[in-house]
């Protein structure tokens, strides 16, 4: 069903129906609930308020029926009557029960890892569960290990966000307080060692926070993962699960992965992690590489300018002399002949190498992370969380100046920057 031009169209939804729509970048669609109630990925829409969407795929679900008013041109839209929402809500009900028990006894609430191949709706489910968590009056932590889309912050970083309120339907992530570790790649496969380290760091800090704060502890953790589930990706998933001390694993749309993880869980010391299988929602859209790339650029633009271009980033100029830019990489393995006999390299060692100013032109248009490292030793740099991200807009080799686009007008918190391979041409 295509909606008409500029005129408002009405769309009635029966109970348990979902209105799915796509909005092309550059166009905007406004939705208003005229009557009834509905939610967008678990966040409740308020009757009578107009929500506008730009360049996105969304779904409005109603448990009890509603009438929507749609203004603007949807790319494609349809109503689906078959959704896995009941099973999603049932999962939430189980988790909620565990949270309430944990709150009463002061123990830790469920640590839920959501796994599945690419394009199965993992991040939508994570978002939904986080919104339900907040709507049930619990607090908790949302963790995103998916480098590719960076839905909570920017692509190329893993992050954890305390959840107290439902995520804003339109406004995005401006009001969140994320903790982020920089990886600098959008592909998990190209940065396994770094990603493992970053995930461990997040896990460690989240655990410390939960030790201090009983409300978040009882709420537990919701973890979104990347869609890489075979080979080294599977190993990575196991690493993430054990680092976060996961006790519920949700697998969407992959029976093989479910069986693998169930078998693995049985080998764990009791209590075994609980492995749940959920159906993939029919509304999930398969994204091509170019559309993923486009979405990443959209995320970066949102980081600096806000989803509705209401934020004002700040351009700042730095002398080559004052800043220290490092690149992260796996140290080259020492030759076998240099190792003691019988010794094997267990884990890749990661080193931070300072980028010499002569190579700064290569950084043009790339994203750098500002890390809150106390010193520029390799250990400090690798363990430091990020304070924010800057975009290199100009490298002036004659004046020895770097021009950076920073999100905030306040001076850069530190001058320790980490480079990556994420590029963006600005606007």
């Amino acid at each position: 069903m295509e909606t008409g031009g500029g005129a408002a169209a009405q769309q009635a939804l029966q109970a348990n129906e979902e209105f799915r729509f796509e909005v092309a970048a550059g166009t905007s669609v406004t939705l208003t609930i005229v009557s009834g109630s509905a939610e967008v990925f678990g966040a409740e829409m308020v009757e009578g308020r107009a929500y506008s969407f730009t360049g996105t795929q969304q779904a409005v679900f109603t448990w009890s029926g509603c009438t929507l008013e749609i203004q603007g041109q949807c790319g494609h839209s349809y109503v689906a009557a078959e959704t896995p929402m009941t099973s999603y809500l049932k999962l939430h009900g189980d988790l909620d029960l565990r949270r309430s028990t944990a709150l009463a006894s002061g123990t830790e609430g469920p640590r839920v890892l959501i796994a599945g191949p690419a394009d199965t709706g993992k991040s939508s489910l994570t978002r939904m569960l986080a919104n339900y968590l907040a709507r049930s009056g619990h607090a908790g932590t949302l963790v995103d290990f998916d480098l590719d889309q960076g839905e909570l912050l920017v692509p190329g970083a893993v992050c954890a966000v305390p959840i107290v309120r439902p995520l804003d339907i339109e406004r995005g992530t401006e009001d969140l307080a994320p903790l982020a570790y920089w990886v600098g790649h959008t592909s998990a496969a190209e940065s396994v060692a770094l990603l493992r380290l970053a995930c461990s760091s997040v896990a460690q800090v989240v655990r410390r926070r939960h030790e201090m704060d009983s409300a978040s502890r009882a709420g537990g953790v919701l973890i979104n993962t990347s869609g890489w589930v075979d080979g080294a990706g599977y190993e990575l998933l196991l690493h993430q699960a054990s680092a976060m001390n996961v006790d519920v694993i949700v697998v969407i749309g992959d029976d093989r992965l479910h069986s693998q993880l169930t078998a693995h869980a049985q080998l764990q010391p009791a209590p075994h992690p609980h492995v749940v299988k959920l159906a993939k929602s029919g509304g999930v859209i398969t994204r091509s590489q170019p559309s993923r790339q486009q979405a990443r650029h959209g995320r970066l633009s949102e980081y600096f300018y806000g989803p509705r271009r209401e934020l004002y980033p700040h351009s700042t100029e730095l002398d080559f002399g004052v800043c220290k830019i490092f690149s992260l990489g796996v140290a080259p393995a020492p030759p076998i002949s240099a190792m003691p006999i019988g010794m094997k390299i267990v884990e890749d060692r990661i080193v931070a190498q300072q980028v010499s100013p002569a190579r700064y032109p290569a950084l043009l248009h790339s994203l750098l992370a500002i890390v809150l490292a106390e010193s520029s030793t390799c250990d400090d740099l690798l363990r430091a969380n990020a304070a924010g991200f800057v975009h290199v807009t100009k490298v002036d080799m004659e004046r020895h100046k770097l021009t950076l686009l920073a999100p905030s007008p306040i001076t850069l918190p530190t001058l320790h920057l980490l480079s990556g391979v994420i590029r963006w041409d600005g606007e």
């Binding site: 009578g48 308020r49 009056g137 903790l179 704060d213 209401e310 969380n385 007008p409």
Partner: protein, 418 residues
């Protein structure tokens, strides 16, 4: 119950209004606008405040009454009008000569705001012609709205306000006095013929179009006009046969006005402040208030007048994140790394328009000149740190003073020559 909660929290906010402060009056007016469905309860709260406040603190509350009537209007005007002579009488009785002059000037501006007879009565009182009626305040009879119902899994919403003006008529918060006032309205409305209503609506439409043509930004008055026009259209429609040509014409006009009203509210209020989908339980009154304040501040950011350009903040350091607690209060809003000018400058009583005196400050701060984006000290050539102060709503220079050689040049306070 919602009305009582709204009134109680409003009474608390009223406590801040102890001197004549435009920003406080403005913000209390905005809050009153948001609490429109509870107008009756809010009006009683304000009237009680006038009666109970110390004599020297009554006048600011009167200015608030004035501001709400003129900027929000609607149900507030009706509700204030019921007891306006008493209210004015209470304050006039306690006023000194200076305050009496202020009251006289105030009442002069009420023509066309309140019904003529009420303004006349008030004018007589403040001009000493009529004795102030000293009737006791009757008990506040705010109606009992049902408490928000709880769903089985998820908390029920509290949407105490955010109803357009026209919808207030059906609110279950009417007191006897309000009912009487409305009965009179209804009586006069019943007498009005369709032609009377049509001419009234035409006047309003002209005022709206005139305002729109000037290109001025929409204000609360315009929203009120649109709301009144909508109400009049509905009244006209009620008197017309559904088959007549006029009927379809006015139906279309009503829809057009509803859209306009909706758009205007979005522009004037930003997003609807209470309707972000966050629900509060029955005991969440304080949280709800904080949440509303948070929306209010966020909506004010980047608005005309306030030049605050909102930006994404730097993320918290590790220890800050570990201890991070959800807090929507003002304190949490401002970045703690930035010193507020009001912390630094003692005795800056000039208010928002005044220039604070930088020399008196422990950390000398001054407003940054508007035309520069970066600035170097004219003595040492080092850059002067520029930051955005949310409390002052302006860009500030840290540790900077103007040169004492009579020029407007700026230098570090340490570089200033004795």
């Amino acid at each position: 119950m919602e009305s009582e909660q709204a009134a109680a929290s409003y009474a608390e906010s009223l406590g801040d209004l102890t001197f004549n402060s435009k920003p406080i009056i403005n913000s209390l007016t905005m809050i009153a606008g948001e609490l429109l469905p509870h107008a009756t309860a809010i009006v009683r709260t304000i009237e009680q405040r006038v009666a109970q406040a110390a004599p020297d603190k009554k006048l600011p509350v009167m200015y608030l009454l004035d501001s709400i009537s003129k900027n929000v209007g609607g149900a507030y005007v009706d509700a204030f009008a019921v007891r306006l002579p008493q209210t004015i009488g209470t304050i006039y009785a306690a006023a000194g000569p200076k305050m009496r002059t202020s009251l006289q000037n105030l009442v002069k501006t009420w023509n066309g705001v309140f019904p003529l007879s009420v303004v006349q009565q008030a004018a007589d009182i403040v001009n000493g012609i009529a004795p102030p009626p000293l009737l006791p305040f009757s008990e506040c009879g705010a109606g009992a709205g049902a408490a928000p119902a709880s769903g089985p899994v998820l908390l029920a919403p509290s949407k105490p306000n955010a109803r357009p003006v026209s919808a207030v008529a059906g609110a279950n918060t009417e007191t006897a006095a309000r009912k009487r006032a409305r009965a009179e309205d209804a009586a006069s409305a019943a007498d009005a013929t369709v032609d009377d209503l049509k001419s009234e609506v035409a006047t309003l439409v002209v005022r709206i179009t005139t305002h729109m043509k000037t290109g001025l930004p929409p204000d609360l008055q315009l929203v009120d006009f649109a709301a009144r026009t909508m109400a009049l259209y509905s009244q006209i429609l009620a008197r017309l046969a559904p088959t007549s040509a006029d009927f379809s014409h006015y139906t279309a006009e009503l829809q057009r006005m509803q859209r306009l009203h909706h758009d205007l509210r979005r522009v004037v209020d930003g997003e609807d402040p209470t309707t972000c989908g966050v629900r509060f339980g029955a005991d969440g009154r304080d949280e709800l208030r904080k949440h509303m304040d948070f929306h209010f501040r966020r909506n004010m950011r980047g608005k005309a007048g306030g030049i605050a350009p909102p930006s994404r903040r730097w993320m918290l350091p590790l220890n800050g994140w570990l201890k991070w607690q959800f807090d929507e209060s003002e304190k949490a809003e401002s970045n703690k790394a930035v010193i507020s000018v009001f912390d630094a400058i003692a005795g800056g009583t000039e208010g928002f328009g005044g220039e604070p005196a930088p020399e008196a400050a422990p950390v000398p701060l001054m407003r940054a000149p508007s035309e520069v984006s970066r600035l170097a000290c004219f003595q040492c050539g080092e850059p002067i740190e520029m930051f955005f102060d949310e409390a002052a709503d302006d860009w500030m220079l840290r540790d900077a003073v103007t040169a004492n050689d009579g020029t407007a040049r700026i230098c570090h306070s340490a570089c200033q020559q004795g």
